[in-house]
Each structure stands twice: as C-alpha cells, then as structure tokens.
C-alpha cells in the first residue's frame, strides 16, 4: 500500500515520466476488483453427449434411438423419478444432495452450427450463429470493468477468443512459476525498462511493448500472490486436475481474478462412445469434487460460481459405430453454494420433437445464462457486454 501511495504521489508531483514504465500499466488500473464474486468456466471440449450424462431413464424413445449405447438404469444414480446421472458423476452426488448443483437442460441458440470450432466461437463470443465477432464475452467484461490482464485467466497454453476484449485481453497461464521464470530473464527486464516512447502507444510497436509489460507485471504479481498459500488438497493427477488445482491456488490466495477458464478435451465421441465418456466424466467429477471441497475448506466457495458447458450436444439417434454425431442443445451445469434453484432447473428435452436433422430444439438461449451471471452475480450491465438484451434466469 505504501509503495502504491508513493507512486501515486510521485505521479502527481513530477509527471508520469518518472514512474518506471513497467509499473505503469499495473499501478494505474483500478486496484479494487469490481466485485468479490468469481466465475469458473469449464468447457467439456468436443461436444459432450448430454443425453448420456443426464439420462431420461423412463423414456422409450431414448432407448429405441440408442439401442447399444443407452445407459442402463443400474449404471445411473437417480435424481428424480425420470432422471438419472451417469455413474461416473458419482463423486458429485454428495454436492448434488447438498443443493450445490443446478442442471439447466436444453440450452442452445437459433440456427445452431455443428462445427466444433464455429460452435466454440459462438459460445465464446456470445454471437448469433451467423455473426463473427473478434472479441469474447469475458474480454468485453474486461473492457467494461477496465480490468487488469489477470482479471481473467485461462489455464491453458494460449488465450482463447473468450478472453480477448477490444482494449484488454485476459491472460493464459498454465503454471505461475514457469510463467514468472520465463519472464525473469535479464533480457526481458532490459526490454521492458527501456520502453519510454509514450507517443508509440497507438502504434503496433506500442502494443507489443505494452503486452510485454502487462505480461511481466502480471506474472510477478500472480506468482508472488499465489505463493502465499499452497494447497494441500490432493487433486487427481491429470491435466484437468492440475488446472483446477492452479485455479484453487489462485482463488484461495486471494488473487483478484474474477473469471477463470479451463477445459477438458476428448468428448468428440463419434465411435465407441461408452468407454471414453465414462472415463472422461470420471476425470471431470473426481476433480470437481476435490476442487469444491478445497474451496469450502478455505471459505471461498461462497463467492465462486462454476459453469460447465460443452460447445454442443450430440444427435439423439446413435450412429453405426457405437457413437454419436454432432448435435445441438445440451445441458449446462451450474455449481455454487447459494443457488436459488437447486437440482433440475427445467425439464429434460422433448425427444419426440426434433428438428429435421434429428437434433434437439433448444429451449434456453445460452446467452440468458451469461446475462444472468453478469447481471445477478457480477453485478454489471449485461446488455453493454452482450450487445443485446436477454431475459434472466433465476439460478442465482
């Protein structure tokens, strides 16, 4: 605090030029996070088969259409008289029973696109299906809140469109120490401290230097901050577990980051789906269980909302190779401590009323979920960020 006060003082006293340039971007931006609420976004990449995840075990159409991949009743744990969850999600049962899970069914958008990349872009940018946006909805949240680069962190190698804004990008980090180390080379110090051409700021060269400066000051801050607390919880030893461990370390150490994004790949199950999906959902559920318990132990769960989505669901009718092809609407999982509506948020999709490709007709636009989170959870103007007005749901 003292140092910041001093810097502000010196700024007023002697003009910007005496503040070391590499501290500028960092110290100038708003110090307080916009709110203390956090959102963790998880993508099940490849298009998870929602119908074999949240299973309508009394539905004849379901069993007719999926004669050799339908989930049998004793491979489920039942959450209602009609609905059961895949047995791999068992680790979430306790959390479900406590009311920490809300399942929103039949989420999609008009004129769905069945390409992974395009559908992912649509979910990430919150665009219409025939609209190509160059920035993501979280990126626009950063623009709106004038956030720091580390206000939104993707635990990945490179930054997704979701976290790219018009004037501010989030950060992609897999390992805070590695990120910090890689930027601690004396050479980078030289480059960064020598940057002093304020008039270049609009030029591409200014953009390059500023990105470097942002990265460097963020790396230092994140590393130092997250080092204050090391997590003792045992996470599953896989990539997804590692991602969640990193996120919990960030949250539990009080890092000001508001949005986290991570993903689990491999859900593109065109062939031999049952074994693959069983394994992947297990990885998902086991890690999530540890993650949520870890947050609870650190009294952080109250301020965290977790959203799990997949870029699309899969076709109702299975294909000839014991798999499923690209579909449309899907279920979305919301997890949090004080959910307004717990358990099943709405009814399961109507399997008797499909579009001409044999796909589900969506009921809830995915952007209604975003709008709800922005408005009710993060307390910002959702219309300004989504460029459109969507009705709100009441899960928070």
């Amino acid at each position: 605090m003292k140092r910041r006060g001093f810097l502000k003082q010196s700024t007023f006293a002697s003009g910007m030029f005496f503040v070391p340039q590499f501290l500028k971007a960092f110290e100038n931006s708003s110090m307080k996070p916009f709110s203390n609420k956090k959102v963790v976004i998880i993508q099940l990449k490849g298009g998870n088969d929602g119908l074999n995840t949240v299973v309508p075990f009394n539905n004849d159409i379901y069993y007719q259409q999926r004669s050799n991949i339908a989930i049998k009743q004793n491979d489920l744990f039942k959450i209602s008289d009609e609905v059961g969850l895949h047995k791999s999600l068992q680790p979430l049962q306790d959390l479900y029973n406590k009311g920490f899970v809300s399942i929103i069914n039949n989420v999609g958008y008009p004129n769905p696109n069945l390409s992974h990349f395009r559908a992912t872009d649509i979910w990430q940018t919150a665009s219409d299906s025939n609209e190509y946006l160059q920035n993501g909805w979280v990126g626009r949240y950063l623009d709106y809140t004038k956030g720091n680069p580390y206000s939104a962190i993707e635990v990945d190698q490179s930054l997704s469109l979701m976290l790219k804004g018009k004037s501010q990008n989030g950060l992609a980090i897999t390992d805070p120490k590695m990120f910090y180390d890689s930027m601690s080379a004396p050479f980078f110090n030289n480059v960064v401290t020598n940057y002093n051409d304020a008039h270049l700021s609009e030029h591409n060269l200014g953009y390059l230097y500023n990105t470097m400066i942002d990265a460097k000051s963020s790396a230092k801050h994140i590393y130092e901050q997250s080092n204050t607390k090391s997590t003792f919880a045992e996470y599953p030893k896989n990539i997804f577990g590692k991602q969640l461990k990193t996120i919990s370390q960030f949250i539990n150490s009080g890092l000001e980051t508001q949005v986290y994004y991570a993903g689990l790949s491999g859900f593109d199950t065109h062939a031999n789906q049952p074994g693959t999906q069983e394994r992947l959902l297990k990885v998902y559920a086991e890690s999530m269980e540890v993650f949520i318990n870890d947050l609870q132990k650190n009294n952080a769960f109250e301020d965290v909302l977790i959203l799990t989505f997949s870029e699309f669901g899969r076709r109702v009718k299975q294909n000839e190779s014991k798999g499923t092809d690209h579909g449309t609407a899907n279920n979305v999982f919301v997890m949090g401590k004080n959910l307004k509506k717990q358990g099943l948020y709405n009814n399961l999709p109507n399997l008797g009323n499909l579009d001409r490709n044999g796909n589900l007709k969506y009921e809830i636009d995915f952007r209604e979920i975003y709008a709800t989170i922005l408005d009710k959870w993060l307390a910002v103007d959702d219309v300004a960020i989504l460029n459109k007005s969507f009705s709100k749901l009441d899960f928070v």
Binding site: K164, M183, F188, N196, H203, N204, L208, N238, I239
Partner: protein
C-alpha cells in the same frame, strides 16, 4: 496414418517456405491458404488442395474460385457434398460469398438459398476426382442477385464476380496482407480498377509491388508478422533447420499458427491478434532457442482433436531443447562487411523505441552472433 502424412506435408511446406524457388508464389500460396480456408484429414485431398493453391496463386481468380469449389477437401470442409436437391446444405453457399468473394452483408438469405440450390449435386470420388451427380442436382429455375436461370455452381461464381465489390473485397484483403492494415481508399480504388477487368492476380500483384505507395515510409515496418513470417524471417538472416517434424509443429503451435491446421473457417486472425502475453514471450525467446540452443519451457495440454486415453502418462510440464542445426557460416558470409551498427537497420525495418536504441548502442561491442540474436529478440523485430 493419413494424419501423420498431413503433419509431414505441413512440415515439408514449412521447409519450402524457408527455401523457396519462387518467393512471391510462396507468399501468395500462404495468403490464399488463409483466404480459401480449408482443412482435411485425408492426405490425398490435402495434398491436392495444397498443390492447387500454389498452382493458382498468381492465376485467374475466377478459375481459381471455381476450382476451389470442386476440390474434395473443400466439398467436405464446407459440406457441399451433403448439399442435395432434397436436403440442401447452405454452408458452402454462405461462405463462398461471405468469406471468399464479397464479404459480409452483401447478399440476402434468399441469395444464399438459391446459390445452395445451384451447387447441389457436387461431389467427388473416393480418389478425389470431382463428379457432378445429376440426380442430386436441383434442375429447376433459380433466381440469384436478380438473375433467373437454371444455374449451376460455375454460373453462380460468374454472377458473383460481375459485382465490383468482389474485386474490392479481394483488393482490400491483399492490401491488408501486403501493405498496411489501415486501408487507404485511394490505393484500393486503383487496385480495383486493375483487378476488376479480368481478375488476373499476377497483374494485380505486379501493380501493387510496382506502385510508389508500396515503398512509402508509412507502409514500412508497421505490420505485425505472422508466426510463419517471423520464423521464415529468422531463417533469411541465419539459416536454420528444425530437425524433428514434431518440433516444427510444436514451435508453430506455441506461436499460434500451425500450417494446414487453421483454427476455423475464417482462418487465422491476423495483426494484433497474433500477440498475447504468451506468444509475445515465446517470440522474444525464440531466436535464442533456435540459434543458441536455449531451452524452451511449455506445458502440455490436450486439444480437441486428440483423444486422450491415458492421462496419467502425460507429463504436465515439459522443457524441451528444440533440436536445430544452424548455418552461421552463411550469416558470416552474407554480413561480413556489416558492422553491428549497420546490422540494426538491415534486420529491423520499423522505428525503434529510443530507450531500446540506446541499449543497442551500449551493446555494440557484443559479438556479431550475440548482437544479431539480440536484434531478433526485440519487439521491433516483430514488425515488417
């Protein structure tokens, strides 16, 4: 098997970019690969598509577009082979106008429907030869951009190209790629006047490269290099070869551009989109990694295409020495007459931040090797 071959072809393309027999044709091939964006897993189709791009890179845009529409890779990529009289698929019809010829908002949904009808029946054999399936083609009259007739796909492309907007759309894209991301309308008008006459790409490029404005200061050193331009650029100063195919792909992945693996149908987003906090750091480190055997650290992640079956075995964090052979002798030979001071302006075309300039002056006594690696590790080197 096929997947492995595609990766090998991608690596071969990279080597060719580094040692081109015709520089402009290579540059244009890369340009068109990010215009007529396409991806496929079948090596036969990928190879056919790639060779087609190089062959037509400086040819006639009209012929080029028609050939693209009949390539097996494209027929699959934009679902035109699923486009049948009884169940039209509009994917190709839409992208043909939006991405390949006219740009957004230049047509109606009705035009897309009628265009899609005209392309029905397009298909290919297993070996990849184009076939037209009469029975799947919609032989009824279509009305497209106010014209009526029993059109086929080629007719649609002809009608689209009658619009001057097509010449303008392509000219703007070429200008953005070769000249400046900020469009100068006067320059574009001149280009359109040349290109609209007969859609001859070579003539257009000749006009651009010989125009006075191409060499004006405001158009030099302002563009952010694409990862491939960056990698090839280093090679023109100090020739190097990455020994392992896998590592060629790794380096491209870390920078955000894997040849033959575009992110989506719109292609790579260029300009400032190349740069985020990770890629800038990778770029500034890479000259040392490639030329000085430095280590590069990265952590492993899965992507949509890899079905990860055994999680436990995958290492979560990796350090790698990229195995590279460098040809410093060529560098010595090519630059033997130049002092370090002179090297600055040969390697860097953009203006230089004054603090960095002072740092370079202080470092004049460094060995020529170290000095050139330092030059290529600057933010300034990212611009061309």
């Amino acid at each position: 098997m096929s997947r492995k071959k595609v990766i090998e072809l991608s690596a071969a393309w990279f080597q060719r970019l580094n040692n081109p027999s015709e520089i402009l044709r290579e540059k244009m091939t890369l340009f068109w690969a990010n215009h007529f964006v396409c991806e496929n897993k079948n090596i036969l189709y990928v190879q056919s598509y790639h060779n087609m791009l190089r062959k037509n890179a400086l040819g006639n845009f009209r012929d080029f577009t028609k050939i693209v529409s009949k390539e097996p890779a494209m027929l699959a990529y934009l679902n035109n082979k699923q486009n049948k009289k009884k169940s039209p698929n509009e994917n190709f019809a839409r992208e043909l106008m939006e991405l390949f010829t006219l740009g957004q908002d230049q047509y109606t949904e009705h035009d897309i429907k009628e265009s899609a009808r005209s392309f029905t029946g397009y298909n290919h054999t297993y070996k990849g030869e184009f076939i037209f399936k009469e029975k799947q083609h919609d032989h009824n009259e279509k009305t497209f951009f106010g014209k009526s007739g029993n059109f086929n796909g080629d007719d649609i492309i002809d009608i689209i190209l009658q619009k001057e907007q097509c010449a303008r759309f392509i000219s703007e894209k070429i200008y953005t790629y070769f000249v400046n991301e900020n469009i100068n309308k006067k320059h574009i008008d001149e280009m359109v006047a040349v290109f609209y006459k007969d859609y001859n790409i070579e003539k257009l490029m000749r006009f651009v490269l010989l125009s006075k404005w191409f060499y004006e200061d405001e158009n030099i050193g302002t563009k952010i290099k694409s990862p491939i331009e960056f990698l090839v650029g280093i090679n023109t100063v100090v020739p190097y070869k990455i020994e392992k195919t896998r590592q060629i792909i790794l380096v491209q992945r870390l920078l955000g551009q894997i040849l033959m693996n575009p992110p989506n149908v719109v292609g790579w987003k260029t300009g400032r989109n190349w740069i985020d906090s990770n890629t800038i750091v990778t770029r500034l480190r890479l000259p040392s990694v490639l030329l000085n055997n430095a280590e590069i650290a990265y952590s492993e992640i899965g992507d949509e295409e890899t079905m990860i079956t055994d999680f436990d075995k995958r290492k979560l964090r990796k350090n790698a020495f990229v195995k590279v052979s460098t040809d410093w002798n060529s560098f010595e030979e090519n630059y033997k007459k130049n002092s370090n001071k002179e090297l600055v302006h040969q390697i860097i075309t953009s203006k230089i931040n004054t603090g960095t300039k002072e740092m370079l002056e202080r470092n004049q006594q460094l060995s020529k090797h170290d000095f050139v690696v330092q030059l290529m590790s600057l933010p300034e080197y990212q611009l061309c």
